[in-house]
Structures are given as C-alpha cells and as structure tokens.
Symmetry: C2
Subunit: 139 residues, 2 copies
DNA sequence: TTGTATGCAAAGCGTTTGCAGTGAT
DNA sequence: ATCACTGCAAACGCTTTGCATACAA
C-alpha cells in the first residue's frame, strides 16, 4: 500500500503548480525547493507510480522527451504554435475517430497534436503583412 | 556531396519494402539481408542524413523510440497496437480538424495517433476468450 | 587521389534498478 | 516492527561520436 512522504508531496505540488506538462528534470528542480536532497530516481519512481495510479498522465510530443501532467484535467489535446512554440490545450475532439481504421482494427484511445499559429502570433503576422503592403504603396 | 553506397541503398530499400515505420534496429536487420556486415552506427548516420535531405520522415509516438518512414507517402496517421506494439499506417483523416480549435487559432498541420488492437491481436484475444468459456463449460 | 562513408568500440544521455539504510504506518 | 520509500551509484538501452580504414568519385 502507498505511503505519504515528503518527497511525493513535493512532486505532486510541483505538478499542480506548473500548469503545464513538466520534464522529469523540471519536476526534480521544482520539487527540490520543498524537498531538499530529493534524487532523480525518486522522481522517476514516483512519476511511474502516479501514472499507474492514473493520477498523472505521461505526454510526449513528437521529438520531445516525455512530460508529465496531472490527469484530473478533462480529456483534451494539444496545440503547439509553430512561431512561439507554446503549447495550448484543445478541449474538443474529432467525432469520427473509430471510422478511420480499416476493419479488424479496434480503436481504444487516441492522441492528437495540432500545429499552427496561436491567436497572438496570427495577429502579429497579419499586422506585419499590412505593414509591408503599406510600404509598397509608398514606393 | 553525397555518395552512392551499398549500405545506403540497402537502407532505402528496407524502408521502401516495409510499408510501415521502422525502428533503427528493424532497419538494421532488414538492410543486413542486402548489405551484410552493416553496422548500427551507419544506419543512424544514414537515417539522419536522409531526414535532413527530406527523403525520410522521423515519427515519434508517445513513449516510443523514434521510427522512420519514407516521406513520399501521402498524408496519413499511425495506429499502434497496445498488445504487440507494432505501428501501422492509417490512410484516413478526421474531417473536421480545424473546427476543433477556438477562433483565432490557425491550424496548419496535425498529428494523430490511434491506439488499440491490430486485427491479428484482436483475433487471438477473441480466441482466448472462447477457450476460457469452453473450459468453464467443462467445470 | 581525395574525402565521404563505414565498422568498431567507447562515450553520452535519459531512464531504470540493486542495495543498504530511512521513515511512515 | 514492518516493509514501502529513499538516495546513491551502477547498469541499461538507445543514440552519437572518435578513429582508423574502405571505397565512391
């Protein structure tokens, strides 16, 4: 049965405060503020246990090392802005997932990552285009 | 400038024949049939070069080591069997991707990974269930 | 002949594990 | 008093790199 320790509390706390998925190394650094002497092995063991408990979710975006976030968030996907590289949550979900696969395959779960421009970056690019057009008119 | 070698030909060939994304180790095994003595370091170096050329695509699924496939394939997604862990191509695509994000976001690309049972594993599980049921009837 | 490509072995790096000691129950 | 948890360091698996050699060009 699971025990309540200083270290695990610190790790939970780090994940709760972050508000974004964290790398194991980031968890270590953040949690060491509350639990000095905390080791990386403990972080890995705690994260693994929490993932198995269903308390934490392991997330990996293509080409990135796995990150961890609390799983009490509702089902969601991620949107990465290709300009500022920030990751946003997307709370909708395609409706017709299980229709995508050939017959014989059984779909049980899915992960979706969207890429594009966040509202902020899309706006600042639109303004940049207008600026260029204005310069052209002056020539 | 790039040179034409037995080893790279074998690696290209392995990727072309596979019809699914391969792990570097799988590339090695497959390519050694054509290029005996081929080493894993050469596979990694060749794959890296081909990715930079744009000839090959590196795909990484959550929790999995990166796999490689030719990038001349039409747009598609991936399905991983949770039992045998093999990865398959899925040639369909959800229709309503850009409707998922709040207004202001601009979707330019997306990656989707499905999880479940491949036909083979789904079948063998169904057979296992039948076997258990038969045993129960005998008791 | 030149210099990229190769094979081997060693090094890197993130992650896991063995072990003796710690501490929650 | 248990026995799960911890820290450390060694081990691990995948990937990269240093180096001397092989072989396209």
């Amino acid at each position: 049965m699971e025990r309540h320790t200083r270290q695990r509390a610190a790790i939970r706390d780090a994940l709760a405060r972050a508000g974004r998925p964290l790398l194991p190394q980031e968890v270590l650094t953040a949690a060491q503020a509350t639990a000095p002497g905390l080791g990386i092995a403990t972080v890995y063991r705690a994260l693994k246990a929490m993932v198995e408990e269903g308390e934490v979710r392991k997330i990996s975006l293509p080409g990135e090392n796995p990150r961890f976030e609390r799983s009490d968030l509702p089902h969601h996907h991620h949107f990465q802005c290709l300009r500022c590289l920030r990751v946003f949550d997307v709370h909708n979900c395609p409706s017709d997932i299980s229709r995508l696969v050939p017959s014989g395959f059984v779909v049980e779960d899915h992960e979706l990552t969207l890429y594009g421009r966040c509202p902020e970056c899309a706006l600042s690019e639109r303004l940049a285009v207008k600026r260029v057009q204005a310069e052209r008119r002056q020539e």
